[in-house]
Symmetry: none
Subunit: 330 residues, 2 copies
Amino acid sequence: MSTENKGRRVTAADVAKSLGISRATVGFVLNKTRGQTISEATRKRVINEAARLGYRPHTAAQALARGRSRIILLVLPDWPLEYSMRRHIAEASGFLEEAGYSLVTYTIHETSRPLWESLDPDVVIGLLPFSEEEVESIRASGITNIVPVPDAHTPAWQTGPSIVAGPELQVEHLVERGHRKIAFAAPGDNRLRSFGEARRNIVTNKALELGLGEVDCRQIDRQDDSPQVAVREWVNAGVTGVVAFNDEIAAVVTSAALRQGLAVPGDLAVIGHDDDPWGEILVPALSTIRMDVEGLGRLLALTALNAVDGRDVPQGEPNAVATLVRRAST
Amino acid sequence: MSTENKGRRVTAADVAKSLGISRATVGFVLNKTRGQTISEATRKRVINEAARLGYRPHTAAQALARGRSRIILLVLPDWPLEYSMRRHIAEASGFLEEAGYSLVTYTIHETSRPLWESLDPDVVIGLLPFSEEEVESIRASGITNIVPVPDAHTPAWQTGPSIVAGPELQVEHLVERGHRKIAFAAPGDNRLRSFGEARRNIVTNKALELGLGEVDCRQIDRQDDSPQVAVREWVNAGVTGVVAFNDEIAAVVTSAALRQGLAVPGDLAVIGHDDDPWGEILVPALSTIRMDVEGLGRLLALTALNAVDGRDVPQGEPNAVATLVRRAST
DNA sequence: AGGGGGTACTAGCTCGCGCAAGGTACGATT
DNA sequence: AATCGTACCTTGCGCGAGCTAGTACCCCCT
């Protein structure tokens, strides 16, 4: 299947010439183009000859001709993916493939130009919401299909049950454990700023709703002394429970508390978010929130397809969106 | 930069028309084409106008015209990537970008069509050797640049001194801290088996060389009671220092020790590998090995670039390969 | 005045494919 | 006999950019 033309790639024109028919016909057959009638005999001849010659459509040419790359870029968070998550991505990938799309996964790193600029995907879809800078950057590459959609007024991901549930569970859990004065540990990292704000608001509202006092919110940066300062002042102010933005922040806070000779959860209880595998290793093991990544992932795949068609985000929410993982830190 | 043409993408022709010059000139300027003389004035005008209009070259069109996608596909193993590996990849990605290439990472899953068929990369490069079926499949997609080449030698980054240095440093450090009876904590995960074996051998050899006793090697699996068992038996056997495969394993061991009421490093010292950021957060903070990620990433990138040019795998080794990070756990 | 040799560009073909619009042959209908 | 309809296929343009082979102009030298 390869010894014929010395190295040059087989094109649709080669298939056509070899059969003595026009290139368009080959295209129609291979694309199952609707609105074209092709005799069964020709159909078979084309398909066989294409296979015999080892014809593969040239992706770039297709993308150029139809104006779509048929690539969907899935942006992953920068932490190790659990097994179930990876499996789900594989599933989503297969699902999308049947629709003629390729799923490319991507982890953002600051060192290099984001992949959406060079890959020209039809959709960029994030497992986590994008920061404003990221949205800006994606838009600037001429990509209009971004999921989750950054709606100007009420961002869906800031109000959607799937996102709200986590922080609310964190607060409820602390209250259930008897804490009445709680604090929020926000990420110092600028890229997580807007995401942090969102979660803080949810926590604040929930605290209000449950009749708790003011929620003392502080930014935690592992690089400086902010963890130490925050812990000291929290304890002085009578805070006994800390809701952390994620597991890493929770770990940093816990760490700072332990180094000050405080007991966790005795003097200060800490709950994280995301169920990072590291959280289980820590002493004390970190209580946290596990998101229904699989459900979310499936939803995202569907959303991606709909986004390509210009349709809206599907309505179905994953059912079990967030669950509490009780461990030693609370 | 966007309000001019309603939605349509800006092409090089737009830039040219807007300046009243030919499209070719725009191309020459933007590609810094050698062998073409362009006046400095025109150069600047083109560059400014391109920026003003928000011009982005159409990747697919470029790929079609020059016959190269400028995509390098890095095939990853199907297991959670250690922190250091993710950094290598980020590093390589940045390096390749400067050369005008995009690095796309990919984990093979059986459920879907392999990405090399639809992405048309210039090179497919694997962290692990490919199976024969895989090589066959890649070849069938018309891709000739495959690394590691089926029957060439193993890539340098899999055997070179860069890999040996880390484990040796771990052992040396423990000895320096006065430990004479050490153990090795291997990953339980089957997929890391061969890596674990490799590092264990290095540790064993180094221990022999330094005149230490037998190295007690045990597999650690976070999911079962192997950490507890290992720690107990190690301590009973008089082991005082543990060399861990990576920081995660080190953390798990530390954790198990603490939970048994042992002091770290008092009763058992533990040293990790890879300098995962989580290691610094732990109490006690984890001593570890920091790899020269920049060098390794560069090597990976160079290998890929050379493959594009049809050249062979480079021989050069990264120079400063591994350094010891002293923290509280030893 | 007629080259010769730069410099600074432009015209136009090419890549492989999708797809709209246009044939053509042949039997059926008026 | 002329027209129509349909099944089947072809011609040819366009996608956006790379790049070769010019061309027009100017300066300098004999």
